[in-house]
Every structure is written in structure tokens, then in C-alpha cells.
């Protein structure tokens, strides 16, 4: 199982000091978190993509390339890549290039992201968010899998005899996750292609997350990629840790209370009850996180949000240290102990995709099995009879 950290890259005032870091300070802090993640034995670092203040994460591949150069084994990912407003040709080229630079340590998470005003800056319309996510991603798959692409769609200028370069490393396109909080169509999209499904698991209760994951799992099986419990699931989560629960709450509360996303709203205690947020000891975090698998089934990637709401750099570094040294080793052991043998431990990696060979479903643009709906229905009728 893979464990990591993901960041949205907000530039937020520290409410305890009144000081707002510069964009440069935040960029270098995020870089330091990535290096720290590798140092303490985490597997993945993922950065968001935004093109509006207060965020500064507008150039993920530039950032990830720098991190790739400073690390040896850290998996680099996004949280998320905007498949709506970013040209799929650019995504194909940028991330294939990053794949070569990093020796294959790249996967991506697709998202629609962002608020209405951002779309027109890139010549798009937010009302077309879903169709854009569907068309653009399908084109991206073709660009990575077909040498020469002739293509005409609704949102982009047509392509004639186009070859996206560089070609994916070793002929294996990066593994892709689809991130969604509540759009069932995105869970369906992930299931159709046999891609991973990621739920950010921060803003909703775990029962809702479990419903979304269950839908993805059922459809993954429906499209013939394997059994429900073999579907590739990732979850987010949010924690703040200290030696005692009281200490953790005292330190985190001022940040929580005015945080851009949920500040001035629920109480820390209320939000902790309603969502997977855990503020307390490493043991509490371990217990809560292990409970996720009871809700969504055995899964392959757990990401933690550590660096938002104006938390100072030294505090975040310490949190990553606790996560890597005290929490994740126990989680690894416990998650593996409960996982049935036929359920994959890790999501596909570059090495595993290359090993699967060029004939593997991953290399098809549309790998879903053609489903005979009538046969399906008869089967389920038998099942209920």
C-alpha cells in the first residue's frame, strides 16, 4: 500500500502570528515537504493545480521535475490535474516528459476543479465541465497510446497526423486516477477505463465516501476489469498530531477556526465527528485510518493533507516526520494483515505496467469489456430468484 501527502498549495496567513508567507516561501516549503516525505519513508507526493490566488500551484510539472531531481524513489503525482481547462495535448507532452526525467515515477489524478471564473481565462465554460472532462481525457488516452492521431472533437481544434512527443517512457503511459467528491459520472469514468478512483475524503462523511467508492467498484467489475474488491481506490484524509489529544487540539484549533475552506463554520469537534478529520495522538490517527478500510474496503493509496490553512513550515515538517516514523509503519503492517491475497496491495506502477507487457488492457484506449446488458440482466434475475 502506498502512503503519501497531497497539497493544494494555498498561500494563507498564519492566524497566530498574522504573517502571510510569500509565494516563493510556500513553493520552497512545499518542495521541502516532498523531500521530507521521501526521507521519512512515505511513497507519494502530490501537488494541486490552480491558476488563481490564493494558490500558487500553477506549474505542477516544473515543480515535480525539481522534486524528481532531488529524490530517488518518491512517486510524483497531482491532486489534481485540470482535465477541463488544460489542453490534453499539453498534458500528454508535459507528463510524458516528466515521466522520462523521473524514470517513470509519475502518475496523475484528473479533476475538473476550480470555480467558474477560472474557466473563461482558458477559453472554456464551466457549464461544460463534465463534457470537457470526458472528451479531453479520452483524447489524452489516445495521444499516449496511438503513435499518430487524427482527431476531431467538440472543444479543441482538430488534429491531423499528430504525434505527441516524447512518447511515454517504455511505451507505458502513466497510471491515472480520477478524483471526485460527489460526481457519480467521474466514478463511472474511472471504472470504464479501469483507472484508479480517488476520493478526497475531507469534506464529507465516510458513509458518503463509501457510497461513491462502492459505485466505482461495482462499475469496475461491470466493465470487466476484475472483481469489485480488486478495483484501485485511493483516499485522502486530514490529521494533526501531538503527544496528547488536548495538545493537538490546542495547537490546531486557531488554524482550523479561520481556515479558508471550513473556517468560521463548524466547530473543530463537530467537523471531527462529521468527517475523517482527526486531531489527536498518532494512535488515534492509526485507529481512525484503519477504519477507512472497514468503510470502503481494502484500498491501495492513502494520502494526507498536512500543509494548509497557514500552518508554519516547521510544524508541517514535524507532522510529516510523525506521520512517516510513527503512523505509516503501523498502518502498512495492519492494512497488509487484513488484505485478502487477491486484492492488490499497490496501485499499478511504471514497473508493473511495463511488466504487464504491451498487450495489457492498460495499453488500450478503451479497455472496457463490451457488456451484453441483456445477459447481465438475466444473470441478476437468476441471482435474486
Amino acid at each position: 500500500m502506498q502512503f503519501g501527502i497531497f497539497s493544494v498549495g494555498d498561500v494563507t496567513q498564519d492566524p497566530t502570528t498574522g504573517r502571510t508567507p510569500s509565494e516563493g516561501e510556500r513553493i520552497s516549503a512545499m518542495s521541502a515537504y516532498a523531500l521530507k516525505a521521501e526521507e521519512v519513508g512515505l511513497d507519494v507526493f502530490a501537488t494541486g493545480e490552480h491558476h488563481n490566488p490564493p494558490f500558487m500551484t500553477s506549474a505542477p510539472t516544473t515543480h515535480l521535475a525539481w522534486i524528481a531531481a532531488q529524490t530517488q524513489r518518491l512517486q510524483l503525482s497531482t491532486s489534481t490535474t485540470l482535465i477541463t481547462t488544460t489542453d490534453p495535448v499539453r498534458i500528454a507532452e508535459d507528463y510524458a516528459f516528466l515521466q522520462h526525467l523521473s524514470g517513470g515515477r509519475v502518475d496523475l489524478m484528473m479533476g475538473r476543479g476550480n470555480t467558474g471564473p477560472v474557466y473563461p481565462w482558458f477559453g472554456k465554460d464551466i457549464r461544460q465541465g463534465l463534457p470537457l472532462a470526458i472528451e479531453n481525457y479520452h483524447l489524452l488516452r489516445r495521444l499516449w497510446r496511438e503513435e499518430v492521431v487524427d482527431w476531431q472533437g467538440k472543444f479543441r481544434t482538430p488534429l491531423q497526423g499528430f504525434t505527441s512527443t516524447p512518447r511515454p517512457l517504455d511505451g507505458a503511459p502513466p497510471f491515472v486516477w480520477h478524483g471526485s467528491i460527489r460526481s457519480t459520472e467521474i466514478a463511472e469514468q474511472a471504472a470504464y477505463y479501469g483507472d484508479g478512483f480517488f476520493h478526497n475524503n475531507i469534506f464529507w462523511n465516510i458513509e458518503h465516501t463509501a457510497q461513491m467508492v462502492d459505485l466505482y467498484r461495482r462499475r469496475f467489475e461491470h466493465y470487466g476489469h476484475g472483481s469489485k474488491d480488486q478495483a484501485i481506490v485511493g483516499l485522502g484524509g486530514q490529521v494533526f498530531m501531538a503527544g496528547t489529544e488536548a495538545e493537538a487540539k490546542k495547537a490546531f484549533r486557531p488554524y482550523f477556526d479561520v481556515a479558508p475552506v471550513y473556517g468560521h463554520g463548524p466547530s473543530l469537534e463537530g467537523f471531527t465527528r462529521m468527517t475523517p478529520l482527526t486531531v489527536g495522538t498518532p494512535e488515534m490517527v492509526i485507529e481512525r485510518t484503519l477504519g477507512f478500510a472497514d468503510a470502503v474496503g481494502d484500498y491501495q493509496r492513502q494520502m494526507f493533507l498536512m500543509d494548509h490553512a497557514g500552518l508554519p513550515k516547521d510544524v508541517v515538517l514535524e507532522q510529516i516526520e510523525i506521520l512517516g516514523r510513527e503512523v505509516v509503519p503501523v498502518l502498512r503492517r495492519e492494512f497488509e494483515a487484513r488484505r485478502p491475497a487477491h486484492v492488490p496491495s499497490d496501485p499499478p506502477t511504471h514497473a508493473s505496467l511495463v511488466a504487464d507487457g504491451p498487450g495489457a488492457p492498460h495499453h488500450l484506449v478503451a479497455p472496457a469489456a463490451k457488456v451484453d446488458l441483456r445477459a447481465d440482466r438475466t444473470e441478476s434475475e437468476h441471482a435474486t430468484a
Binding site: L130, P131, A133, I134, E135, H138, K154, R182, T184, E185, A187, E188, Q189, A191, Y192, F203, W204, N205, H208, Q211, M212, D214, L215, R219, Y223, V261, Y262, H264, G265, P266, G270, F271, M274, T275, A368
Partner: protein, 219 residues
């Protein structure tokens, strides 16, 4: 069968004249349903008790608190709704609107609804027609013709008998709408009231096959 009547009341004080009117309406509706040979159960949602939960839901990207989730499910599962609000600044109260705002857009489509309001003076009585009816029309609810407005005078003054008559008439209309709705399972649903409704946005809704999404680009 027992018809489920759900009462939404947005009074802020305790005791509240809005709650008082809500209770009279609920009693009258129960009586009128019984008069038609059916039974009725009444569940009251005091929106005042949900005030903090509604604010929390609003400020966390629409994530309902357990109390809001339960109230939404209660409303979506009702056979009829009685909605009562005090008049604030020439309209329904903000608290009342906040609850409507967190309802699923399909939650009360086709549902019989009785609208009612209270205010200090009779000068506000058109609030039912100017504010409440358009709101429930938007939600495609079946609002009964008689709305009940009660000013302070109606509770004790010479107009109090008139209020009683208006309550009976409105309750009769709602009861008739509920009882005429028929019994589930006997014949197909004409209005589609039972489909696409729910207490929350669920992933249990029917999924569109991805081949169709791809062909129509998600539209």
C-alpha cells in the same frame, strides 16, 4: 394506510406563534384525513433547532450535518408538507430559506404542500402569494389553493373565527390531495414522484453508462 404529514416551522421564539399556527394546521389536516377514512401521522421539524447545522452545511461546501441529513430524508419521505414561516422583511425568514436551499431540487416535486405564514400585521398577508408560492412552484410542489396567513389580531381579536375557517378549508384541500394520491403499488405512478427523489445526493442514483456519456459528452 397512514399518511405521513411533515410540518416545517421556522418560528424563532419559544413559545412561537408560528409553531402555534403550525400545530393548528397539523391538527386540522389530521382531522380532515381521518374524515376521509385514512390515518395520518405528523412529524414536526423545528428549523430553529437546525440553525447551527444549516449554517455549518452552508459553509462546508454543502456537506450536510447528520441532523440536516435526517431532516432532508424526513421531508423527502413525506406524503404532504405543511410549511409555516414568520414574515421577515417582506418575505419568508432566512432560516426558512436556508432549509429550502439545502433540499435536493427534486425532494418535494409533486408533493402536496400547504403554505402558511405569521406576521405582526395583516399588511403582510400577500407574502404567501408573492414569496412562498413562487418558491414552491420552483420546486414543482403541488401547493393547495388556500394559504393560511395569521396576523397577531387573528389569534385573539375579532378575526379569530375567520382564521379557524381558513385553517379548515386549507386542511381540507391538503387532505383531499393526499388521500387522492392513491395507494402505492396499485397501478403505475403517473407523476414519477417516486423516482429521482431522495434525502440526499446519493451515488445510488442510476448511473449513465459511460459509452453514452462518451457519445453525448456527458449531456
Amino acid at each position: 394506510m397512514t399518511r405521513r404529514i411533515v410540518v416545517l416551522t421556522a418560528g424563532l421564539s419559544q413559545p412561537s406563534s408560528t409553531r402555534l399556527l403550525a400545530d393548528r394546521l397539523a391538527d386540522a389536516v389530521t382531522t380532515q384525513v381521518s374524515a376521509r377514512g385514512e390515518a395520518a401521522s405528523v412529524e414536526v421539524i423545528e428549523l430553529r433547532e437546525l440553525a447551527h447545522d444549516l449554517a455549518t452545511t452552508m459553509t462546508t461546501g454543502g456537506m450536510p450535518t447528520p441532523a440536516v441529513e435526517e431532516a432532508r430524508a424526513t421531508v423527502a419521505g413525506a406524503d404532504a408538507l405543511i410549511a409555516v414561516t414568520p414574515v421577515f422583511a417582506a418575505s419568508y425568514s432566512g432560516l426558512f430559506k436556508m432549509f429550502v436551499d439545502v433540499l435536493d431540487p427534486e425532494a418535494i416535486a409533486g408533493m402536496p404542500v400547504l403554505v402558511a405564514a405569521t406576521a405582526g400585521t395583516a399588511r403582510h398577508q400577500l407574502v404567501l402569494e408573492h414569496a412562498l408560492r413562487p418558491l414552491f412552484s420552483y420546486l414543482r410542489a403541488a401547493v393547495v389553493p388556500t394559504g393560511v396567513f395569521a396576523a397577531t389580531d387573528d389569534f385573539g381579536g375579532p378575526g379569530s373565527q375567520d382564521l379557524g375557517r381558513r385553517i379548515s378549508r386549507a386542511a381540507g384541500e391538503l387532505a383531499a390531495a393526499v388521500v387522492s394520491a392513491g395507494v402505492a403499488g396499485f397501478g403505475p405512478e403517473a407523476s414519477g414522484r417516486e423516482t429521482g427523489r431522495g434525502g440526499g445526493r446519493g451515488s445510488e442514483a442510476e448511473v449513465t453508462d459511460f459509452e453514452d456519456l462518451l457519445a453525448g459528452l456527458g449531456q
